[in-house]
Symmetry: C2
Subunit: 338 residues, 2 copies
């Protein structure tokens, strides 16, 4: 199942809010629609957001190319800034927009049609490189797991969160292909249930054994059933190895440490933000109370309930056993280089 | 709001599955209906289950009294065993049935009407003693909290889980009355959302400040906002201080230890099971997959999803800062006496 596909000037985006009940694609021709799709989580997962943003810049360039050629670059720049601000935490969004910006800079003065064509090529390159990176990470990560591995993952860091294969689920896919997976436990991942809706769905489709638990069961799972690894993705990694990822990741890291379970983070190198020296420099998005007080539009809490709803948390580097990237596996103390 | 009320031979039981949207009482005249209500969690919370079970024995005795007087005790005994087996983890259920059994033994040979009358009196005594115990625990627990306390609670150990006032929420009520509560954070408590549905509801009604979070946010809450105490109830406490309570309690205890936050358990002395030397001796109920895969009847996971759904977990005594009972506050090493 494709997360996104570019075809004849249209971005086809799998609407992940409808999964697993409905497989439906949005056909987007306006970069503003892509921003809305990112905000409402039709597309989510840091690498997938990055690729969607790269194509959003293409759509913005196509629109800017309709107008006065003189203002092309300025109009495009303004749109690119809007795209880069769609959500605050995942750095891949900003990174993809910056890659497209570099294309525009390189081609300054060239006709808009040529710039558009190059932006399409760059977006496709970002897309293809992401899939390749995931396969590489999968191989690196699978090598770290024992045979008969019982692993726990949180949220969805799968094919659906990327351009294909997945980061954390890429490791699980590669380990399963090598006959090493006994059971994958999937945290349901409240509030938006990406674990229950997306991770279980992906693994079921691939015939990988998966058991769903609520987020509150992870600690007891480790104590009672035993666990060989926690494997998660990342939305942004600071220069010191602090990891911003889906809310609940930090709790898992503490629990893993308490139980002596390795805690692995899997993410493409583009997730590392050299401008954030540590986790304190990573902005954490707080989302609407409705995500917690309602489920599928149905209220589960009394009217007027006050809510704290951070979408992400920060796991300090000292709780992270290793960070798996396409450039290799990093261990503490984390030094990523350029 | 009353959790349960006995009136003219009928047990009126607040149907907690409908809260907070609907306040509705079941009128039960058959002990089998009480068992069903306990199983489907219309009444839940160890002390409330205990009181409901005591009245279920009354209903069973009323039924047994209709038949042959000779078989009265045998028929009642059989029904009491069914009642005691309604759910496995909360020991208060067994304890209340044992208290009623002692009444029947004491009055062996007396006319059934007299036994029924004494069972009603005993059930009322259990009910009244629970409310009094909660107020005592509230005072003991409140004394342990600092001023401007930020506390986190899990599930619902409130008036609704007891015969009134609550255990963990009793401590919070007493602390609030003493002007010591800055904020109560309530874990929503998946799968059945007793935190969102019941705890938020109870605290709102009392004007106590409460903020709802998903279970996965507790760790980040401790790290980011700071917390002064975790306060939970218990379904069974082993002789060594190991605590069985709602699934997710164990994760909170590990997180509290990591962050240096005191972890308090509040429960009436009847929750202590001298026959369970440690937590390994406490049976943990596993409930239907539907509770996790569905929410309000709506599926949130793909069809055929495998689930692990333990309703409780066990927190080892070494993670418990203190156990607050109506007989006083116990500290490690836990020795409860008789």
């Amino acid at each position: 199942m494709e997360t996104l596909r570019w075809e004849n000037g249209t971005l086809h985006l799998l609407d992940q809010t409808l999964l697993p009940h409905e497989v439906s694609y949005l056909a987007l021709n306006d970069y503003r629609e892509v921003i809305r799709a990112i905000r409402r989580l039709s597309v989510r997962g840091a690498p997938a957001i990055g690729a969607a943003a790269a194509y959003a810049v293409v759509l913005a360039a196509m629109e800017a190319a309709q107008g006065d050629a003189e203002d092309f670059a300025a109009r495009l720049q303004k749109a690119a800034e809007e795209i880069g601000a769609a959500r605050p935490t995942a750095v891949n969004l900003r990174w993809a927009v910056a890659r497209q910006h570099a294309v525009v800079e390189r081609l300054a003065g060239e006709p808009p049609e040529k710039v558009v064509a190059e932006l399409v090529r760059e977006a496709a390159a970002i897309f293809a490189a992401d899939v390749a990176a995931n396969r590489t990470m999968g191989a690196y990560g699978a090598a770290l797991l024992p045979r008969e591995a019982r692993v726990l993952t949180h949220c969805n860091a799968g094919a659906l969160a990327t351009c294909g294969y997945g980061t954390a689920l890429g490791v699980i896919r590669a380990a399963h292909a090598a006959g090493k997976i006994r059971m994958v436990y999937a945290d349901e991942t409240r509030p938006l249930l990406q674990g229950a809706r997306l991770t279980v769905f992906e693994l079921q489709q691939d015939g990988i054994p998966v058991t769903l638990i609520t987020d509150s069961m992870a600690g007891y799972l480790m104590a009672k059933k035993g666990l060989d690894a926690v494997i998660v993705g990342a939305d942004r990694i600071a220069a010191n190895g602090d990891v911003a990822n889906k809310i609940g990741t930090y709790s898992l890291a503490v629990l893993a440490r308490h139980h002596g379970v390795p805690f692995y983070v899997t993410a493409p190198f583009s997730t590392i933000d050299p401008e954030a020296p540590d986790g304190a420099g990573i902005p954490i998005e707080e989302r609407d109370a409705d995500e917690v007080t309602h489920l599928g539009g149905v209220p589960v809490a009394p009217a007027g309930t006050a809510v704290w709803n951070p979408a992400f948390d920060v796991t300090p580097h000292n709780l992270v056993t290793a960070i798996i990237t396409e450039r290799g596996v990093y261990y503490p103390p984390y030094r990523f280089g350029a």
